[in-house]
């Protein structure tokens, strides 16, 4: 039998083989992994969601710190105002480390405001009281009379609230977060300063997850 493998069979075979090669080849993305990429904290990374991220933290904390050092009660204060941090209230749908905003604001003010405000370490009171008691009992030395109360009271409370609005539809998810921070006069309960920042993000996941 003479086999006449002309254009029909050859071309069809090529199509079949090409189709199989194209369709079946299963590649691996980044088979060697991705090396660690150092990014700036205020930079949007390639891993992103619609929640609170480092660039939001930096942006919000920067704005709040600048706002606090500019208020008259701080600029023209007689003596250095002492501030206590009161935990932020999270009303969003994102669980967060609530202390991180106030920590960032405090660190920025401490490093850049040249002593215009002083923060009280109320979160360290247990250790401070233990040290004071050791001094009082004579177990450790003391540079001053340990029986005199020297723990300072707060002039202001710095606190904040994170609120959010979320929309989800077939077109994706949208999250708006309102960051508000307040400086409250500890004596009068006056809110002497309030700053806010708002950030909205939206995105849509791949169809295989919908």
């Amino acid at each position: 039998m003479k086999l006449n493998l002309d254009r029909w069979s050859v071309s069809l075979s090529c199509v079949a083989v090409a189709g199989l090669l194209a369709g079946c080849a299963s590649g691996v993305q980044n088979p060697r992994g991705v090396s660690v990429t150092e990014m700036k904290a205020d930079e949007r990374g390639f891993v992103a969601g619609t929640g609170v991220e480092s660039q939001d933290l930096v942006r919000v904390a920067d704005k709040m710190a600048r706002g606090i050092v500019g208020i008259p009660q701080v600029v023209r204060a007689q003596g250095t105002p002492r501030v206590v941090l009161d935990p932020v209230v999270n009303e969003t749908r994102f669980p967060i480390n609530k202390d991180i905003f106030l920590t960032r604001i405090r660190a920025q003010l401490n490093s850049q405001s040249a002593g215009k405000v002083v923060f009280l370490a109320r979160d360290r009171m247990t250790a401070l009281e233990r040290e004071r008691d050791l001094k009082r009992s004579g177990q450790v030395t003391s540079g001053s009379d340990p029986n005199v109360v020297e723990f300072k009271g707060a002039d202001f409370f710095l606190t904040g609230k994170l609120s959010s609005l979320t929309t989800r539809s077939s077109k994706g998810v949208s999250d708006y977060i309102l960051y508000t921070f307040q400086l409250i006069d500890a004596r009068t309960s006056d809110i002497i300063w309030e700053g806010f920042e708002e950030i909205k993000k939206q995105g849509l996941e791949d169809a295989v997850y919908r």
Binding site: L20, S26, G49, R168
Partner: protein, 407 residues
């Protein structure tokens, strides 16, 4: 070949044996190409296994190794096991890892795109679970946040959980987890905010048993789960349809007895109900399209092979173009069959199978100090099927969270 009918050629009826012989000769060109095609097929379609590249047992060290695409699934499973064993730190780590991956799925994703391709099964995507599974991850994490004295972060988890259920195709059942809204409102009340709207929403979602009113002074919160959660399976001609099977359990409700108080803990949320009332997924349409393509290419392949074989047999030796067309049709048919065979519309049935079937909640006001409670898991007749004893310490000035499971 035994089913071949006698073939008529040039007015003669060939015997079955002769007909088969002629057909095999007609298939000779195909037979010559077949090894090459099959070799390409077998190498091109070789499934890549990522192997144990990623360990989900970072915390426990005892959980099995899993491929990267199953990492979230194993985190889910390990978290549930850890939670029930009282290893709360491990449960937190597992859930935090899973939730971080859940939050990063927005936008283009190569693994997800790969799962949409004709020749890849849906299970090629990185598993994050169906919405009910994602909701449960947030629910568990919320319990752990509350346990750590962070009711606002717990509320955040409950809110996200409800949101994940809100884009259901069937809007009647969108965002209808009763307990998530109830706990959202309770956390708000604990944080001196207004939880009445959330409570009203929760009440509207209840099906069998109404939720109790909030007790502002209640400082011990019992999060109760019982029964077995839904399991997934695939149905349809090509297993392209995702289905759920209800978990079976004799336990239908629970009762907590502590300090002379009897706290009913009926089912407020049915996980199987939540899994099955969302309507179709977008992915279901993609899989249906794949299945349709698979069926069509298979039918076309059958038709081409039969036509080619007939042409090859009937025109053999006549030196006509029909002889060559027959061979071409055979090859085309084979290619079509191969493509059909390679098309994979199989639905992803990876499942968080150690979920509970039902969720419940109870709250009590207890004085600070150590307490012992009894959790009775009741069958349909109200008879205790299983009894557990719980010992916990109530701290002053904060909520005490007790996780109760019949698993």
């Amino acid at each position: 070949m035994s089913n071949l009918l006698p073939t008529r050629r040039n007015g003669d009826v060939l015997s079955l044996r002769n007909a088969a012989l002629k057909q095999s000769k007609a298939l000779a060109p195909l037979a010559m190409w077949l090894p090459v095609v099959m070799l390409v097929f077998s190498t091109g379609c070789a499934t890549y296994s990522e192997g144990p590249a990623a360990s989900t047992a970072a915390v426990s060290g005892s959980a099995p190794q899993a491929p990267r695409r199953d990492a979230v699934l194993w985190s889910y499973r390990n978290a549930a096991l850890a939670l029930r064993a009282g290893r709360f730190d491990q449960a937190k780590a597992e859930l935090d890892d899973a939730i971080a991956r859940l939050g990063g799925i927005l936008g283009p994703n190569k693994d997800a795109a790969s799962a949409r391709r004709l020749f890849n099964e849906e299970a090629k995507k990185n598993f994050i679970g169906e919405p009910y599974e994602r909701v449960m991850a947030y629910f568990y994490r919320g319990i752990l946040y509350w346990m750590d004295g962070e009711p606002d972060n717990a509320r955040a988890c409950f809110r996200t959980g409800q949101l994940l259920d809100s884009d259901a195709e069937n809007k009647t059942y969108a965002g209808d987890w009763a307990l998530l809204d109830y706990l959202d409102g309770l956390a708000s009340m604990k944080l001196a905010a207004d939880g009445s709207d959330a409570l009203a929403r929760a009440q509207s979602h209840t099906r069998a048993t109404a939720l109790p009113a909030y007790v502002p002074r209640a400082n011990v919160l019992f999060f109760v789960e019982f029964g077995n959660g839904p399991l997934k399976y695939a149905s349809g001609q090509f297993r392209e349809q995702l289905r759920f099977r209800e978990g079976t359990s004799s336990v239908k409700s629970a009762v907590i007895k502590v300090a002379g108080q009897t706290l009913p803990a009926p089912s407020y949320d049915d996980v199987y109900f939540q899994a099955t009332t969302r309507g179709g997924r977008v992915m279901d349409h993609i899989l249906a399209g794949k299945a349709q393509f698979k069926g069509a290419t298979d039918a076309v392949g059958d038709a081409a092979i039969v036509s080619g074989a007939i042409l090859g047999v009937t025109q053999q030796g006549r030196r006509s173009n029909a002889d060559e067309i027959g061979a071409g049709l055979l090859l085309f048919g084979l290619a079509s069959k191969l493509i059909s065979g390679a098309t994979n519309p199989t639905a992803d049935t990876r499942c968080w199978e150690n979920l509970p079937g039902h969720l419940s909640f109870a709250a009590a006001e207890l004085p600070p100090g150590q307490h012992t409670a009894t959790a009775e898991f009741l069958n349909a007749a109200g008879t205790p099927h299983r009894v557990k004893t719980l010992t916990f310490t109530v701290q002053p000035g904060r909520d005490t969270v007790v996780f109760v499971s019949d698993h």
